[in-house]
């Protein structure tokens, strides 16, 4: 691995009494494009939030190269947004300037033009005044991508950016992702589509409460940590309470497991 930009040193993250991540260590190289995979509740989003600074590790540290926190753009899960809040598409993109503009700073003409340009880049030119509650899932996701564009950050953190998005939109957003990668930005993306991981993400990290493995994606497949054939239940240690749950689910008690045989990525 080249020069690490972000280093996780044995981090634990908890929600109250519930420990969501334990003893996770790993590195993200500068300019890398990494997929974070794992079953539901494995701590993928929690890891992203910890890196973004939304949550703080209860133990361990997250270190940055040269001890300087790089600029970060964080794209949360669409499901975590309040979609009926009365905001326009343009307003949402402008919130990307909030970390630098703050409370009292005005927005310049250049910033507004950048927001319009970003909307054009994601194919939402002309949607500026539309209310977000009138958008489809894919349009909202593209709006959030436009917000990431205007943030112009070195590190881009994406939490399930392709969920509830059709194939055409996914293709468009993947192109954007690859462009960012070419520009040398560091990208960490939580996703559950193994085909996308295998095709577009050179690095992977597999989580299940703790880090099961990380490195080159082809190695993750070789080690069966990512697999189109592997049953996720095989990854759970027998003494883990999840083991029982996963097996039970596998026998049809959970509709979410319709694609269970496809492996860990499908459960992320």
């Amino acid at each position: 691995m080249t020069h690490p930009l972000i280093t996780l040193n044995d981090i634990f993250v908890s929600y109250g009494r519930h420990v969501a991540l334990q003893s996770v260590s790993g590195q993200f190289a500068c300019g890398s494009l990494t997929a974070v995979a794992g079953p539901n509740g494995s701590g993928k989003s929690t890891l992203l939030k910890a890196i973004a600074g939304v949550l703080h590790p209860t133990r361990g540290t997250i270190a940055f190269a040269d001890n300087v926190r790089p600029s970060m753009a964080y794209l949360p899960q669409v499901a975590h947004l309040q979609r009926d809040f009365p905001l326009s598409v343009f307003d949402v993109v402008l919130t990307g300037f909030y970390p630098e503009a703050g409370e009292a700073g005005g927005l310049s003409k250049a910033q507004k033009q950048a927001a319009s340009k970003a909307l054009g880049e994601v194919g939402l030119g002309g949607f500026e005044k539309r209310q977000i509650n009138a958008l489809s899932g894919g349009e909202l996701q593209r709006t959030l991508f436009a917000r990431v564009i205007v943030q112009n950050a070195n590190v881009i953190l994406l939490d399930e950016p392709f969920s509830a998005v059709d194939a055409a939109t996914t293709a468009r957003l993947i192109q954007l992702l690859l462009k960012w990668h070419e520009e040398g930005r560091t990208i960490i993306c939580v996703l559950h589509d193994l085909l996308l991981i295998k095709k577009y993400f050179p690095e992977s990290m597999v989580l299940q409460g703790k880090c099961l493995g990380s490195g080159h994606t082809h190695q993750m497949f070789e080690q069966k940590l990512l697999s189109f054939d592997l049953d996720m239940a095989e990854l759970v240690p027998p003494e883990d309470p999840l083991h029982h749950q996963t097996h039970r689910d596998h026998h049809g008690h959970n509709h979410d497991h319709g694609h269970h045989k496809h492996g860990p990525g499908d459960h992320a």
């Binding site: 939030k49 970060m72 964080y74 947004l81 309040q82 970390p99």
Partner: protein, 290 residues
């Protein structure tokens, strides 16, 4: 004097206590409307209700110590509100009790402890004053306090407005932004303190049981008519002022208690909005093609 002037203006022209009551309501509405909007958007109407009662034991203790002093009751109410909010966070996070259970428990404890504390020294009239307020008897100190609270609220809200919008729409993004500018972490506590101060101010006029009336009900109604943040706040403000003006007149001519009539009118208009409003009401659901 024609009949319109007689019914719409004369009570305000003739009596100082009516003008003071209207002024108090208008100033309360000016600071309460934006707060109510954000509380409503954050799905915190139930929390607001619990908090409106949480200030009661603090006010009661202040009353026992220094009588009906606006400033000591404010200090008591603010202290109790913040302590109970912290307690609710602790109980929700570190025990198995559900959040709505926490608020029910603390709401009842606050209300009953306040009543018991008041009964140690005060009369039934004091108790009624605390529970239902007495908007027609609002004094200079209370009016001054409400005015100061409104100015402070508008000033702080202007400063944290963008953060509040983000906190409603995308709270994780707000917290991520806070890692770059730590002062952003103050948005939530600042909003909460403002809300409690406004409850104490509204308490002066409407008592602990109805303090929330002019803060939250207009905002609930507004979401059924308008879809933009600024317009929704403006609509809520207009509705609160209309309810105050018309409610005070109604109570004057029907010889009924002023505070309850103002809140009753506001609540009725809110219910009407839920039934026939432009967006998301019963009527719009019926009209919507299947």
């Amino acid at each position: 004097m024609n009949i319109v002037t007689h019914y719409l203006l004369s009570p305000y022209l003739d009596y100082g206590f009516m003008r003071r009551a209207l002024l108090a309501c208008i100033v309360l509405a000016i600071s309460g409307a934006p707060l109510g909007f954000f509380m409503n958007q954050r799905r915190m109407a139930l929390v607001s209700d619990a908090m409106s009662h949480a200030i009661f034991p603090g006010v009661a203790v202040a009353f026992l110590v220094s009588g009906l002093s606006v400033w000591s009751m404010t200090a008591g109410g603010l202290t109790a509100g913040i302590l109970i909010a912290l307690l609710s966070v602790f109980l929700s996070r570190y025990t198995q009790i559900k959040e709505d259970g926490v608020f029910t428990l603390l709401f009842l404890l606050s209300l009953t402890s306040g009543i018991v504390l008041l009964s140690l020294k005060g009369s039934n009239i004091d108790l009624l004053h605390m529970l239902f307020g007495d908007i027609l008897a609002i004094d200079n100190d209370a009016l001054l306090f409400i005015g100061i609270v409104a100015v402070l609220t508008l000033f702080v809200l202007a400063f944290i407005y963008r953060g509040l919008v983000l906190d409603c729409f995308d709270p994780d993004f707000l917290m991520a932004a806070a890692s770059k500018r730590p002062i952003i972490r103050l948005v939530r506590p600042a909003f909460f303190v403002l809300f409690v101060i406004n409850l104490v101010a509204a308490f002066q006029a409407l008592g602990t049981l109805m303090a929330l009336g002019l803060i939250l009900l207009p905002s609930i109604a507004a979401q059924f008519w308008v879809r933009q943040v600024d317009r929704a706040i403006g609509f809520a403000l207009g509705l609160a002022i209309f309810s105050s003006y018309a409610g005070l007149l109604l109570s004057y001519f029907t010889n009924t208690p002023s505070g309850p009539v103002v809140v009753l009118l506001c609540g009725t208009l809110c219910l009407g909005s839920v039934l026939v409003g432009k967006h998301g009401s019963c009527l719009s659901a019926i009209r919507k093609p299947l």
